[in-house]
């Protein structure tokens, strides 16, 4: 898939997801996303990457019902003198919707490397938006480094006698702060090394050429056309308030089929992209074996 089509698909899907509010539609997006991953045998890849995202998702899920007490349907109310805890169904569902959205967005960004060739994106962006690519390259390297450094530093801390599984909360917190500090510094150092490596290879100093020129295929043009129609339909749907949904004081707003259709159409493009990328990787693998 041409990098431009891949990037447009990801942006389109993310914007749609941000606009969606109806709990059923967001749930449907999540199911569609998991189905796409199962159909393309990518579930293991996501599982591995989700281990770092599970805590923020859980936090989003819990924090809203605890802090927001709006909503008509009270499902739990505890009074303890002047202090009280009230959880409403609306606040709980809102937290759930936000957590699902966060989960979907993380998966969508991770999917981007599965629908496009990493090097094609890098070359394409290096040519058309050089300074932005430099920032993106450093940021993506930081995410990679974060995972690697976390595992390594955790291991070193264990051998040093710092028990992260400590029962004592104070010690656990103190050791976790150490871990975060070292990991962050290591990530910064790793990013700096990358900038050195990019500098010595003359990156962004002059207009770049292409070792593997990117060519538009017929399929790319069909996808571009389809994405154009989806984008226009999306704008029209937003203008017509098809995406509106209110949580408080109670759930208000119908489920609009057009919003579901648009999401499914965008998924179709992404599904095709993953399949095509897999074919390309298999071809490269066969060439290497030959």
């Amino acid at each position: 898939m041409h990098p431009l089509i891949g990037l447009l698909s990801i942006v389109l899907l993310t914007i749609q997801l941000l606009a969606l509010k109806h709990p059923l539609t967001v749930g449907l997006v999540l199911i569609a996303l998991i189905a796409t991953l199962v159909l393309t045998d990518e579930i293991a890849f996501i599982k591995k990457n989700m281990q770092y995202a599970k805590w923020p998702i859980l936090l989003v899920l819990i924090i809203n019902p605890l802090l927001v007490h709006l909503g008509e349907h009270v499902i739990l109310h505890i009074r303890l003198g002047s202090w009280g805890l009230m959880i409403t169904l609306e606040a709980l569902v809102y937290g759930l919707v936000m957590a699902m959205k966060l989960f979907c967005i993380i998966i969508i960004f991770q999917l981007s490397v599965k629908i496009m060739d990493k090097e094609d994106i890098f070359t394409y962006m290096s040519k058309h938006c050089r300074q932005l690519t430099l920032t993106l390259s450093m940021s993506s390297n930081a995410v990679d480094a974060l995972q690697n450094e976390y595992e390594r530093v955790k291991m070193v801390m264990t051998t040093r006698g710092m028990n992260l599984e400590h029962v004592d909360l104070k010690s656990k917190f103190k050791h976790s702060v150490y871990l975060i500090k070292v990991v962050l510094i290591s990530v910064l150092e790793s990013t700096f090394h990358r900038s050195e490596a990019l500098y010595v290879r003359h990156y962004t100093k002059s207009p770049a050429s292409e070792y593997q020129p990117l060519r538009w295929q017929k399929r790319d043009l069909y996808c571009l056309f389809l994405e154009g129609i989806i984008s226009l339909s999306f704008i029209y749907a937003v203008w017509q308030k098809e995406y509106d949904f209110i949580f408080y004081p109670t759930f208000t707003g119908p489920l609009q089929p057009v919003t579901v259709l648009l999401v499914i159409a965008t998924y179709g493009i992404i599904y095709m992209g993953i399949k095509e990328q897999k074919k390309y990787e298999q071809l490269s693998f066969n060439q290497h074996k030959l």
Partner: protein
């Protein structure tokens, strides 16, 4: 004609009280092979980065003086951190793409370079799957591809095994001799480098204190040079100073030639004295043992297999093998960080572990606080032992510094001190000599041996055969993820092909099993008496 000309260059890093370089004057001739050497923190890498233009552009700081240079390619120390693309051929093409070279030129050059560096069979391979040596070759290939007439390499063999190191050095020699490329090699491990270079520049605390040929360098009276010379060269340097030999040989071949003449003329009738080094105590108490270990990172491939390995009280075991063979995995299993899928590990409660990256040990703002924190965690109190550790590792002046501001070698010493502060029963060290110069290595050997005397058993991974010869009692060789052999150091390092000390290579034809510098010096002194 000069490729690079530096006049009165002084440079100070931001927020550092001292200058890293002071009034450096340097001229590098086109097509020459120049070595820049010096102890850790002497300003070698800073000088290389100034020539390339990385400093002050990326680092900031204040630089004075003038500089005129051709364009140089630059190869960093850590091969893994230089890999920017996914596949080998795209990695080579990346620099050319940035220069905007035409498509046909790039295709032709990638094909040529892949053949030249011997990686054409790995053209579509993922760069992360390459070994350290292959990655470093690729990094050199990438720099050549950009069409520069010169190349600066910052300790390119610092993290490589002896086989890969010799391959990299051969590649550099070919580039210099066949292509006429100007090579500036920054190195403090001078084992096999000296015979290849035309000129040596030696830095002491940011100042050039020696400039001349390699022959002059090894025979100079400048005492500090012994800090970077190999034990092999030092032994012959002392023989030269004692007037046993007429010159200091730069290679094993040259040494063998002069020694052969000498031995033929003295016609020895009795064997030379053998190594009198202790080969470790043969105590019976096993402190740590591994039996029938099978370990895999992904449940599919077998990454390490060990049939049987025992570590006895007061023993120092060395582990050698090519990059990626499973040495670090073995240490992680021994420390209990990794659990094998099959097999039995018997280990004491407190095992100290020094990983490859010293930065992982720095949590506190100063080194002193760092050491105290480890001692508090392990309920230890400050006594002479710790004073000795600080003395041995020469860390007195660094206790109030932020460990992350230290130079590579200083950081390594700081990490060793932190691990030792916990007073472990078993100490596992993964490449502890990385970035250390000769003197510090000697001190480290002394410290580790004194720990052995206290009953601590040690396992050390290193590519430095001299260090292994001087320190270890037994050596284990790992190849392809399998522990192949464990034998006494004397036996293993005296008659190998690559995993052998320079003394082993030199004396083996005479039927002498010599691995350590002490034994070699003893033989050279015997030669004088015979003569």
């Amino acid at each position: 004609m000069n490729s690079c000309h530096l006049t009165n260059i002084s440079y100070k890093y931001p927020d550092r009280p001292k200058s890293a370089l002071t009034n450096v004057n340097l001229a590098v001739k086109q097509g020459s092979f120049t070595l820049i050497s010096g102890v850790s923190g002497s300003g070698k890498s800073t000088l290389g980065k100034i020539i390339k233009g990385i400093i002050p552009k990326l680092y900031g700081g204040v630089m004075t003086g003038s500089i005129e240079t051709d364009h140089f390619g630059y190869v960093l120390q850590d091969p893994e951190k230089q890999m920017l693309m996914t596949t080998v051929e795209r990695e080579i093409a990346f620099g050319m793409e940035n220069l905007g070279l035409p498509y046909n030129t790039m295709r032709k050059r990638v094909a040529e370079i892949l053949d030249y560096i011997g990686l054409s069979h790995l053209r579509t391979q993922n760069t992360k799957s390459l070994s350290g040596g292959q990655q470093q070759k690729l990094a050199i290939g990438c720099a050549i591809a950009m069409g520069y007439s010169g190349l600066i390499l910052d300790e390119p063999t610092g993290q490589l095994d002896p086989v890969s190191s010799s391959e990299i050095l051969s590649l550099l020699k070919r580039l210099n001799e066949e292509q006429g490329m100007t090579i500036i090699l920054i190195e403090q491990k001078l084992d096999a480098v000296l015979e290849a270079v035309d000129r040596v520049i030696y830095l002491t605390e940011g100042k050039v204190t020696f400039e001349g040929t390699a022959k002059d360098f090894v025979s100079t009276s400048h005492e500090e040079v012994e800090e970077v010379l190999s034990a092999f060269t030092i032994a012959f340097r002392q023989a030269y100073q004692n007037r046993i030999l007429n010159n200091v040989p730069l290679s094993v071949k040259e040494a063998r030639r002069s020694l052969r003449n000498f031995i033929m003329s003295t016609k020895p009738t009795e064997p030379f004295s053998q190594n009198s080094d202790p080969a470790g105590k043969d105590t019976k108490e096993t402190v740590l043992s591994l039996q029938n270990i099978i370990f895999s990172y992904n449940q599919k491939d077998r990454h390490l297999s060990v049939e049987r390995l025992c570590l006895k009280k007061g023993e120092i075991l060395g582990v050698i093998g090519e990059n990626g063979s499973g040495k670090s995995t073995l240490l992680k299993i021994m420390s209990g960080v990794l659990e094998p899928q099959k097999g039995e590990v018997l280990k004491p409660n407190h095992v100290g572990f020094l990983s490859q990256n010293p930065n992982d040990y720095f949590f506190e703002p100063t080194l002193g606080m760092e050491i105290k924190q480890v001692m508090t965690l392990h309920k230890k109190t400050w006594d002479d032992t710790y004073g000795k550790i600080i003395d041995t590792l020469a860390l007195h002046t660094l206790l109030d510094c932020n460990p992350r501001d230290l130079s590579g070698g200083e950081r390594q010493r700081a990490a060793i001190a932190i691990v030792l502060a916990s007073a472990p029963n078993v100490l596992l060290l993964d490449e502890p000599t990385r970035g250390l110069n000769k003197g510090l290595k000697r001190q480290l050997i002394g410290l580790l041996k004194s720990l052995r005397e206290q009953g601590i058993c040690l396992t050390v991974i290193s590519h430095d055969m001299e260090f292994m010869a001087d320190l270890t009692d037994r050596i284990a060789i790992i190849s392809g993820g399998v522990l192949q052999v464990v034998d006494r150091t004397q036996n293993l390092l005296s008659d190998g092909l690559f995993y052998v000390s320079d003394f082993g290579k030199l004396f083996a034809p005479y039927g002498l099993s010599v691995v350590s510098s002490k034994a070699a010096q003893h033989i050279l002194l015997n030669l004088k008496e015979r003569a």
